[in-house]
């Protein structure tokens, strides 16, 4: 039986936690960061689903071709698969660059890199969705 934690003590005093996500104005770099995480989760879920479906015998390549051949919906479906993959890949490269070269971690540079990341990922994904 030891001392109670800081959080327990504060809660016991009845203190509320100040607002965070509800009031914070997230800069573009923070938004690109959370998008990287979201696309990462989406990829994990997607790839696991494909694996699970294949395990029970579904012909996933055929299924994808059928959906992809439908006119407009097919392009949208292709975009929704391509974007998480492309964005997360490019975001990952940006992270590797930041790890190796901390000099790139300046406010103006990271903001610029965020717009480049969003633009490049959207453009490449759109191209993949159309071809």
């Amino acid at each position: 039986l030891c001392c109670e934690s800081y959080t327990e003590k504060q809660a016991k005093l009845g203190r509320p936690v100040s607002p965070h996500v509800t009031i914070y104005k997230f800069p573009i770099t923070a938004l690109t960061s959370i998008t990287n995480r979201v696309t990462g989760v989406a990829l994990s879920v997607g790839v696991t689903s494909i694996g699970a479906m294949s395990l029970v015998g579904a012909d996933v390549p055929a299924l994808m071709s059928t959906i992809g051949d439908i006119t407009v919906i097919g392009n949208l479906a292709k975009f929704s698969v391509a974007f998480p993959l492309v964005y997360h890949y490019m975001g990952g490269i940006r992270h590797l660059m930041w790890d190796r070269m901390p000099e790139m971690l300046e406010n103006a540079k990271v903001e610029q890199s965020s717009y480049i990341l969003i633009g490049a990922a959207t453009a490449v994904s759109a191209a993949l969705a159309i071809i």
Binding site: V17, S18, H20, K25, W98, D99, L105, N107
Partner: protein, 340 residues
């Protein structure tokens, strides 16, 4: 300087204000504190005439001399200030002419929570005339506390961006209230909230104990036992080595950065946060320190340093222009051999 109004007129105004004050039944305030509080509320520009007024009054020259001194300085603030004696509201008695300017009213939504009653936290709206207020958010808070709601609680001290007391969330971003200019757009309301994801003591005051104990845990002082000392006392440091501390030593521990970090929101018990890690790096690259390896090793676990995901909110909000994100990246590099 010479007064621009007659002493008789000044005496009459002063007397009118004094009787009005008595009518209101106000306690006599010390002249100095009154002038000081007014100065803090009205911004630096009004400081000099009011300081002169306070000095004149306390030296026993009387209200009329104070009036002469204040109006002699020629500032419009002195007309409104009512000197040291009387009313400090612009809607004064008939003896003082009404102010000849437009009101620029802006709404401020401020986070309120009272520990003494069981209510939930709420946002309360206050309207402030920006034409009768200093330029910074701290001026707004002081004016509200002074004229509208004395229960509004917030920390403040230096009013010049060096003490770090008034750190809070203004219009969605963390910053120092004394250095954050009011957005002059009177159509939109501004929001003022405490530093995010901290336990609230009252209104805008948050508990900083965890933050301070994390700072203590990185041993933020020089360990020079193993360093080469000139005459047994001083460790010499080259200009180049001293230059490495620039951008690190200036931290005022205001906690704007740590409380802007989502990673610190979710793990403030185990992740040290950008402010503390910047200071850890400050001691790691100090050439005079002899326990560098130990400092680096102390941070090598899953939480203390590595909860940083390079979100970079920290560098964006630092009121001193420092870059904790970059310092953290450099500590991470030190863990695989390259300390720069």
């Amino acid at each position: 300087g010479h007064s621009t109004r007659s002493l008789a007129g000044a005496r009459a105004s002063a007397r009118a204000r004094e009787s009005e004050r008595e009518r209101r039944g106000e306690e006599t305030m010390s002249l100095c504190t009154h002038a000081l509080r007014k100065a803090l509320g009205s911004g630096v520009g009004a400081w000099l005439p009011m300081a002169a007024a306070a000095a004149a009054s306390t030296s026993g020259l009387g209200a009329s001399a104070a009036a002469a001194a204040a109006s002699g300085a020629g500032s419009t603030a002195s007309l409104k200030s009512g000197l040291a004696l009387g009313a400090f509201r612009t809607s004064a008695s008939a003896a003082v002419p009404a102010p000849q300017y437009e009101e620029a009213n802006k709404d401020f939504k401020i986070y309120r929570w009272d520990p003494d009653n069981g209510d939930k936290p709420r946002m309360e709206t206050y309207t402030v005339d920006l034409n009768d207020c200093g330029p910074m958010i701290l001026d707004v808070l002081l004016k509200i506390k002074d004229e509208q709601d004395s229960s509004l609680s917030f920390r403040r001290s230096c009013r010049e961006g060096i003490c770090g007391s008034c750190a809070m969330n203004i219009d969605g971003s963390n910053g120092l209230a004394c250095l954050t200019r009011i957005d002059k757009d009177t159509e939109t309301a501004s929001t003022v909230a405490p530093l995010p994801h901290m336990f609230v003591v009252k209104d805008l005051v948050v508990d900083m104990a965890n933050f301070y104990s994390q700072y203590k845990s990185v041993k933020p002082w020089l360990h020079s036992e193993g360093s080469e000392k000139v005459d047994g006392k001083e460790v010499y440091q080259s200009k180049e080595d001293r230059a490495k501390l620039d951008g690190l030593y200036e931290c005022i521990l205001c906690a704007c950065c740590s409380t802007s970090c989502p990673s610190y929101w979710w793990n403030s018990d185990k992740y040290l946060g950008p402010a503390v890690l910047l200071q850890a790096y400050r001691w790691i690259i100090d050439s005079r320190d002899s326990i560098t390896d130990e400092r680096i090793q102390q941070l090598d676990d899953a939480f203390k340093l590595y909860r940083c995901k390079t979100i970079m909110n920290c560098a964006k909000v630092c009121p001193k222009g420092l870059n904790p994100g970059k310092a953290i990246a450099k500590i991470k590099k030190a863990h695989h051999g390259t300390l720069e």
